[in-house]
Every structure is written in C-alpha cells, then in structure tokens.
Amino acid sequence: MKVSYFPGCTLKTKAKDLDLYARKSAEVLGITLEEIENWQCCGGVFTTAKDEVATKLSSVRVLKAAKDKDQALVTVCSACHNVVKQTNSAMQNDKEFADKVNRYMGEDGGYDGSTEVYHFLELIRDVVGFDKVKEKVVNPLNGEKIAAYYGCLLLRPGKVMQMDDPENPTIIEDLIRALGGEPVIYNQRNECCGGYVVMEDPALAESKSKKITSNARSFGAERMVTACPLCKYNLEKNGSDLPVVYFTELLAQALGVKEECK
C-alpha cells in the first residue's frame, strides 16, 4: 500500500529517530511511505484564533498534495498530526475558513477536506492490524514493562482526532502488547508534559514532567514510549532517568530492523 507521508521539520532535525524507524518499520509492514515533495512546516500549532489562516496554509498544501495523488496522508509526529488533522477538519466543516483558504491557494487550486489523515499508529491499527504486526515480530520485547505516554496532542480534541477514547486510550498499549511487551497502566499517561511552557516557565514544566515519569516508574515501568518530540524532550530534560523512546523505535526493534537504521 502506498501512502503520502508528511514527516515535519522536527523529524528532519531533533527527532530523526522517529522518522527513520517509522520508514523502516513501514517497509516491513508492507507500506510504502511516499514523502510529499517540497513540504513546509505544518504550522507548529493549530491556533484557535478564527481569523488565522496563514499558518494553516502549509498544512492545506500537504493535504492537497496527498489528494492530488489520491492517497491517504500519514504523519508520525503528534504535533504535526494534530495540526494537519484539525486543519483538515476545519476545511470540511468551517465553510468560511475553507473559502478564505481556497482564495489564498490561488493557482494551486482549491481543496475540499477529503483527504484521509492517519497517524502512523492508526495506520498500524486500522490498515495493517495489530495481529498482523504480531506475526511480523522477530524480536519480541519479552515482557518488558513499558509505559505508554500519550500527552495532549495525540488524542485531543477527541471529536476531531477520533483516534481513541481521550480519557482512557488503549492504542499504544495494544501496540506494546503486539510487540511482546507488557504495557504499564499509570494514571498520568495522558496528562500534559509541560509542552511549550518549558520556554516560559521551566519550573512548571519540570514539575509536570517529573510527576509523569515518577508515576510511571512507581508502576514499575522500565521504559517510556511516546509519539511526540516535545514530550520526549520535556520528559528527558525534566523527568527522572527513565529512558524515553519513540514508539517507532520500539516497533523497529521488535520487527528486527533497528540496527539497519543506524
């Protein structure tokens, strides 16, 4: 299966792992990620200001590029996914916004919000299937206790993201199980890590992150897994010494392709 792929800026710089492991794992799972040409930043955050259009245009261009190829669009980074998916939903449901955007699009042509947007996790769950992933595992995680950390952006706003129950999600835990690990259910798993607040109030971000990692540790976690570069940064910088990896690394490890990525 061929899908359009939008890595996003961070995946080309700080979060190369997230990207590399995703590509390798996708190959094993029979999915070809076709990187969109000349993509730009997703916009960073989906601003809720109603009159803000400019920062959302790059996301629309990405969505349109996928549509032109008649492919689904896949993202890996939580933040990019959040922006792209929310922008797509706005193009479908907010006529005023869509009209404005399409006037900006000019020569590129209009876009109607019809591209299907998947997070890589959803792609594995809904298109590949966790049971299929399980079959491909050559290097099972041998019951390693792994704490899934969702953060805020992956699941919320629930009505738009529609990935999983935002209050009691299971998607990463199910992946960990499929890879042979033992998911740790701890109560801070979808609390905020501090996010961009780390720039303005590092102490607050530190206390948020510490709470999460120590909570995960108290439930016996040996590793934490996330889909978000900013979460990983905050947890590593401010949290405890618990190792934090991307879910794609875990996947690549279990599928036996981790070494190839180095």
Binding site: D165, E167, N168, N187, Q188, N215
Partner: protein, 664 residues
C-alpha cells in the same frame, strides 16, 4: 344559499389595536351570503355570545363566521353558542385574526387588510359547509397501566379506588420499580421500602387490580375508549398460582453466579430467584440465560425442593388479549450508561460507583447489609467525593450525555452526603457541583442542613479526572470560587448519573402513536394546561416517562393521570369527531392508496354492486371508512389519485373556496 352572520371580536385591544374592526365587519357584510355583520368588544363573553344567539334567531342564520382568536382557543365555545341557538355547531367557522393577524402585524392598514381577507376566506368556506352529526362509541370500563413503579402503582390504586378495574403490566418479575431500590427518601429521610411496600401489598390485595408481572405490551390497536391490547406474559417457568414464595428453591439452586440486577450487579443471585423480600407477586422466576436445566436439560434441583410443585420447565410465553378504555404510560427512567465518561474511571475502578449503586450500598437489604463499604476491598471509605451532573446539562454532547437537568440529583446527593456524615462522622465528604438546584417544599432547607449542620464540603466546580492509584482514587477538580485546582485522594467516588427514559418507551410510543420529544420523554398534550395527557386521545402519562421527576411529583402526577382516566371511564359513550374521511364510491377506483397511508387502520375495502346506466350491474371494489377509528387527519384525501376521498368539514371544495377568496 346560506344566510351567514359575521361577528368580529375586538378582544379588548388585542385585535382592535392593530385591526380596524369596524372596517372589517363592514367589508364582510358585502360578501356573498352574508346577511348580518357586527363587531363587539369580547365575543367570547356572555354578552358577546348573546349577540350571536340573538342574531341567529332574528336573521334566521344558517351559518356564522367569528373573526377572533385561534380556533384552538374558542372554536368549542362558539360551537356551543350556535348549538344553544339551534344551529348545527359545524356551521361555525373561525377566522383567526388575532394570533395570525393582529399579534403579528404592527400597523393598522396591513392588519385590517389581512383580517378582511381571512374573514372572506371563512365566509367562502361556510357557504359550502353542511351540518354534521358526531357519532358515538362505547367505553370499555377497564384501564391499562404500563409500568409497575411508584407511578404505575399510585395510578392503579387511584383508578381502582374509584371502582374501575385496572391491569398493571410490569416487565420485571416484581412491581416496585426504582423506588424499591432506594434506601431513604428526601427531604424527610423516611425509608423508601417502608412507604412503598405497603402500597405494593395494597395493589396485590385490591380486587380491582390485576398484575401482569414479567410481561410486556406486544400490540395496541383501537382508539380512545376501545383499545385492543395484546400482552405477552413471558415464561417464568414457575406456576404463579401455585408458588408460595417460600424461597426454598432460591437457596438450593446450584447456579450461584448470576449478577443480581436488583443490587446492580454488586452481588450475585441464583438462576431461580425472587428479586427482593417484599416482591409483589412474591413468586420465583427462573432466569433462562443461566438455568442449567433449561440450557442442558440436567439439574432439576428447584423442582425437587419445591413442595408446592410450582416449577414448570415447559412453560411457554403466553399472549393475553384484553380490551381497555384508557392506557396510562408509566415506564419510568434509568440512569445513563457511564461507558462514555472515562474521565471518571467508572470502568477502571470498582470504587467509582453511580448514585443508584450507592443507594444499594447503604441499604440494609443491599450487598453489604447496609454498611457503607468500598466495593473493591470492603473497607470503610474515609474520603468520599460526589460528582453531580455527570451527563446532565451536558452542552453539545448528545453522543455522551443529556442537555437537560436531571432534576433529582442535587437532592439525592445532599441526602447521600448527609447520611454518610450522620452514620460515619469520621468520613470527609466532598460534593462537586455546577449549581445546586433545590426548589421544592423543604428542599433548600434540607440542602443547607447538609452544608451547615453536617459539614459536607460543597465545592462549585467540576471534576476533570479520576485516576485509580493503589487503593486511592486521585480526584483532580477545579474550585471555581477559589479559582484553584483541587486534588483529593478519595476512597470512593459517587457519580450522579443523568437519567433517561426507559428503553422500552420508544417502541411503546410507536405502538400507541403517542408523541415523544428528542430525548424520548413522552410529550404532554399541553405543557401547562394538560400535563398528564398525551396528545393521543385515551393515552395518559404518569411519572418520569414524561420528564425527570422526584417521588412527590411522580405521585401527584400519577394521581392526576388517574383522575383523568376516571373521568373518561365514567362516561358510557364518547362523542366522536364528525370531521372524518368519506369516500365518493362513484369515483373510487379501489386502488388501495388511501388504505396504505391511513395511520389508524380506519380504511377497508368492500366489493359492492353498482347499477350502470345501461341497466347492467357491476361489482366494484371501493373504500370504506370506519367512523369510530378515523381521526380525520386527511392523509387519505391527499393520497387518493381520483379525488374520491374527502374530509367532512374540510372538503377539497371548501379549501379551494378559501384559497380563491384569499387570492381574489
């Protein structure tokens, strides 16, 4: 040619303020057939009615037009006036120049012009009116009450008290409903069972009342005064007339692991069971989903221990057919499912419970024999958090909760909080709320007692998240008055779940052709003036099936519904509506279009002989309308392709005459 009188009402300044009533009565005087026209300050007053009566006699009127308020308001009044003066009441037409004219226009010329047009239309119609005589239908003097909770019980007792026989249909094995599951009742704190169970016994002992327990209404046909109802009595595999309710079988049954629905699954019952000690009828029921004998044919323990020989594994569902004059809906409510409220961790921890589960936990007949113990480890909880409005007043969340206020939660939460503090003073109790709504006699005083005397911590704000950690529940909430986050380590969290109508209500409403609102609550005929009647004649509403209600309100509505039923059953005959469909057999081609659209099943087809012009005889299939069943909705007149079907009093010719008068 008709001799028509026109009577224009001022309605004080309601009409006269924006309509020149003098100009209207003068203009209408010139219409064809009009021989008399006048106006008066209040046509509906006694003096006004006298003007009409006098004019009918003096001018030998054959039809009248009253230009006044909506016919919903005073059509009946003016029909009676006409009848009193010897005129057929169906020769009266109302031109609505108030709601549809004076109230919606601001300037006099426009209002007057429109009033004249409306009056002309009514005159044009009356010119084609013919006298109509309503038919009569008998009344079956027996009432059906659907639902055996406190609403159904009270309605049945009141109807029986007036001397009419009543049948209660209850889908569960016992009557009693939700009230039987409650511990204490607000604001007096008397025990629910102590006030309910004597009423249940009254029902059982009342000669006029029959209880069909473990039964459901299958089919309803007919109309007010003459309903034909099929009731399915589900097989309980126990002969009700023989079972003594001794309970020996329920102690010996080897299938012990059946979730006990009476205690909301917090403990287990046997496959053969009596829901609770005071059940009415007090007979055992076998649960076919769990009974080993019914599933595999091997066991039969209950049959062996039953000294009365009441067990009957071969019992079949039974259909009972009965006629009723009136039907009362008392199907009640249920708390909504907590599946979609994962933020409160209901599915993740046994110690997050609903308020109804809390009732069972504090009830002496409940799973903990009345001791308040945490379901997870049976320890006494020292910190309890109550969350109000879980799923109630939930804006833009139709897929999750309800937009309406469930009304009873503020009071029962105050009751729970108070009872905990009274019995276990070492327990800290927190209540999170959006607003505390406690109108009602002695209700606000009750809530204030919880705060002031019992020291319950009421915090304005909602709980955002409950997370189980170890044997604690971490509660994260906001305090809107202090403007800060609150973190509480609770032992027990109690959710005041929104209430919704019972799931059986929707299919029942379809059977009864009774209307419902978007929340599946039954709609009343008028929200203020006819609160216990459904818009469908002969169908009455009792209790929470019509909207969220507490016990006192339910009981008052139950009594009110009963009095309406008694009023109906006291009549020997009902006067029908003469404005019903009537087919022109010469034009009918027997196509069945009308039969298919009739929502009441009032149209049948017969083969009839017709004399042809050439003196031959032809057999033709033509439509026939049952005047007792037809409700005069007019669907058939629209469906008829040959124009053979007409509605008496609203014939196509009359409507077209009205339209012509308006467009002229």
């Amino acid at each position: 040619m008709q001799r028509i009188g026109v009577f224009v009402c001022w309605c004080g300044s309601n009409i006269a303020g924006t309509v020149d009533v003098q100009a209207v009565s003068e203009a209408l005087k010139l219409e064809p057939g009009v021989v008399f026209s006048t106006n008066y300050q209040y046509m509906c007053s006694q003096a006004g009615q006298q003007i009409i009566k006098d004019a009918i006699k003096e001018h030998k009127l054959t039809g009248i037009v009253v230009c006044s308020c909506s016919p919903r308001m005073h059509e009946a009044t003016f029909r009676k006036t006409a009848a009193a003066a010897g005129l057929n009441p169906y020769m009266v037409e109302i031109a609505n120049i108030r709601e549809q004219c004076s109230w919606v226009h601001k300037d006099v010329p426009t209002g007057t012009e429109k009033a004249i047009i409306l009056g002309k239309a009514a005159v044009a119609k009356v010119n084609l009116n013919a006298p109509l005589t309503p038919g009569e239908s008998p009344v079956t003097k027996r009432a059906l009450v659907i639902g055996g909770g406190i609403a159904g019980i009270q309605t049945a007792l009141d109807i029986a008290d007036a001397g009419f026989p009543v049948d209660i249909v209850e889908k569960k094995p016992t009557i009693g409903g939700k009230m039987a599951q409650l511990d204490k009742t607000f604001p007096t704190l008397d025990c629910a069972a102590c006030i309910l169970t004597p009423k249940m016994v009254d029902v059982a002992q009342n000669e006029k009342i029959r209880i069909f327990s473990y039964s459901e209404v299958e089919e309803v046909k007919g109309f007010v005064g003459n309903f034909d109802v099929k009731i399915k009595k589900k097989a309980r595999y126990v002969n009700e007339d023989v079972c003594t309710g001794c309970g020996a079988c329920t102690e010996k049954c080897p299938q012990k692991k059946v979730p006990n629905e009476f205690n909301l699954g917090m403990d287990n019952r046997r496959a053969i069971y009596i829901p609770f000690a005071q059940a009415v009828p007090k007979v055992a029921t076998i649960d076919p989903n769990y009974c080993t004998m019914l599933k595999t044919g091997k066991c039969g323990v209950c049959s062996k221990v039953c000294t009365a020989g009441a067990i009957d594994y071969k019992q079949q569902d039974q259909i009972i057919e009965e006629k009723y004059g009136a039907i009362v809906v008392a199907t009640g409510f249920n708390p909504i499912s907590m599946d979609k409220f994962e933020e409160y961790a209901y599915s993740q921890s046994k110690d997050v419970i609903t308020s109804l589960e809390f009732e069972r936990l504090t009830n002496a007949a409940g799973p903990t024999a009345g001791k308040l113990l945490r379901p997870s480890d049976l320890e006494h909880p020292h910190t309890i958090v109550f969350v109000q409005c879980v799923g109630s007043r939930c804006e833009n969340c139709a897929e999750k909760g309800k937009e309406y206020c469930s009304k009873i939660c503020c009071m029962y939460t105050a009751k729970h909080a108070m009872l905990v503090r009274d019995k276990y003073p070492d327990t800290e109790v927190y209540v999170f709320y959006i607003d505390v709504r406690t109108p009602g006699k002695n209700f606000d005083e009750f809530y204030r007692r919880a705060v002031e005397e019992y020291g319950v911590h009421y915090i304005k704000g909602m709980v955002g998240k409950v997370t189980p950690e170890g044997n604690k529940l971490k509660v994260q909430a906001s305090d809107l008055i202090m403007n800060k986050q609150v973190h509480i380590d609770a032992d027990l969290v109690v959710l005041a779940a929104a209430i919704e109508p019972d799931k059986s209500a929707r299919p029942l409403a379809t059977m009864l052709t009774a209307s419902m609102d978007t929340n599946d609550f039954f709609t009343e005929a008028h929200p203020k003036l006819r609160p216990v009647e459904s818009p469908t004649a002969g169908v009455f509403l009792s209790g929470a099936c019509q909207g969220p209600k507490d016990i006192p309100e339910t009981v008052s509505q139950a009594g009110a519904a009963a009095s309406k039923v008694i009023g109906l059953l006291a009549k020997d005959k009902l006067t029908g509506n003469p404005c019903i469909a009537s087919p022109n057999e010469q034009m009918c081609n027997g196509c069945s279009s009308c039969e298919r659209v009739c929502p009441y099943g009032a149209i049948t087809y017969v083969d009839k002989e017709f004399r042809m012009p050439d003196r031959t005889t032809l057999m033709r299939r033509v439509a026939q309308v049952n005047p007792a069943v037809c409700q005069g909705c007019g669907a058939c007149t629209v469906a008829c392709p040959s124009g053979a079907m007409d509605l008496r009093g609203f014939a196509s010719a009359q409507i077209i005459a009205e339209v012509d008068a308006i467009c002229k």
